[in-house]
Amino acid sequence: MTAVQKRVFINKIALALSTLSALIALGFLFWILGVLVMKGVGALNWNIFIFEGAPPGNPESGLKHALVGQAILIGMATAIGVPLGILAGTYLSEYGKNSKLAHTIRDISDIMMSAPSIVIGAFVYAVVVMPMGHFSAWAGAIALGIIMIPVILRTTDDMLQLVPGELREAAFALGAPKYKVILSVVYRGAKAGILTGVLLGIARVGGETAPLLFTSFNDNFFTTDLNEAMPSLTVTIFNYATSPYEDWQQLGWAAAFILSMFILGLNILGRVILFAGKKRK
């Protein structure tokens, strides 16, 4: 074998191995999605949206409690995480810039982003649940909001920095005060990116289970009382899927399918908005 033939041979082996690895990795992904779709779609029916949880064996059982609870928890978490994340990101990009404080905040935020979510759940348990004396939707939403902050903070910071400096200068040159420059020019220039960050932040907390286990806990019945334990799709999936009852397991599959489609949809929408925003420029 000549030197060139040897190199071609090694190249072919490397290519084959990496292609195979990619296929195996993607294979698992599609396997998961495939099982989810097969089992989940089969378990879907209108009762799911009409009825709340019921004891096993009751044909009038559904997921209304978990769907509404999930929506309330995510809505409240968004109301907490989005303003804090966007304002903090604005501080970093427009005021802090390269100062020591700004870099420290960025580092801490990055660490927070990879912190195990169960730790944040434990923290909220200690500072909210314990003093209140019981689980509550508030505690769950605060835990999810905290998890959301670093995601939105970082994307807001990055997206605002992508707005060209000349655009800010042009607004200043017309006599605009700084807050107007940020509100009317910088935010507008970065709105697609910020919106994408918000959607990804929501998607990030949508699938969280661990921090809810000891904050909003769970409930098998419909409730809108924010001071009580609140059902969520994720904890409901955990409870139903690990139960020995066939009909609860079916509901668990349906919940898993709905949640996955919601998060997949958010991710796709985020990408579409970002792509459309880029194309316009």
């Binding site: 607004a171 040159a173 507008r188 220039g189």
Partner: protein, 261 residues
Amino acid sequence: MASIIDIKEECALHVRNFEFTYKGAAAPSLKKVTMPIAKHSITALIGPSGCGKTTLLRSFNRMHDLYPGNSYAGEIEFEGRNILGAKEDLIHLRTKIGMIFQKPTAFPMSIFDNVAYGMRLGGIKNKTELNDRVEKALKDAAIWKEVGDRLKHDANGLSGGQQQRLCIARAIAVEPEVLLFDEPTSALDPISTQGIERLVIELKERVSIIIVTHNMQQAARVSDYTGFMYLGELIELGQTEELFVTPKEKLTQEYITGKFG
């Protein structure tokens, strides 16, 4: 040493012994610059890269104040006061001294909102007045014919030359006394450049103009006065024709004949 013409007509600005130092720099980037800027005429600033012409231009509307740590010395007189004072109202100053940048800076909003931006900052809310003044500014900037029927469209859909004229419309809509142009055509094609140059000449009826350019031919085509800068100093200021035909300074002569650049 420097040869500065004594301008007989009324002046918009007077620069006297002006020095500018960037944050952390050991030496000033502009040294003892003294120059009068004639009213309702075009003054061009030329010179090799790094000579300080843009730095000087950005001093007139105190753009350097956006970045902390820079310092001014000397005097720039405008409307009877030194605008370098600590108490100068920069927001007011920038409505009186507008600026056009090298790259077009259309804001991410509609054409109408772009032109109305400065007026709205000034507190004009009346719809009819806004409409009238937007139309007038766009006409004055010679772009009304192209965009008059699509004012609600996104300004980023316009071509580079159109965006630059839109920026000029936006700047003149607030009726400034002085307009600063920072290499306004260096990102444009020759046809758009011609359009902008024609527009700049028309505008001097109403505003005093200072234009920084890399392009000596452009300075010769549009300006009444030309200042040649080198290493942070104003070497020569004269009537454009004289400066290009019979420069008084050897450095000016060498620069305009292409001996360095």
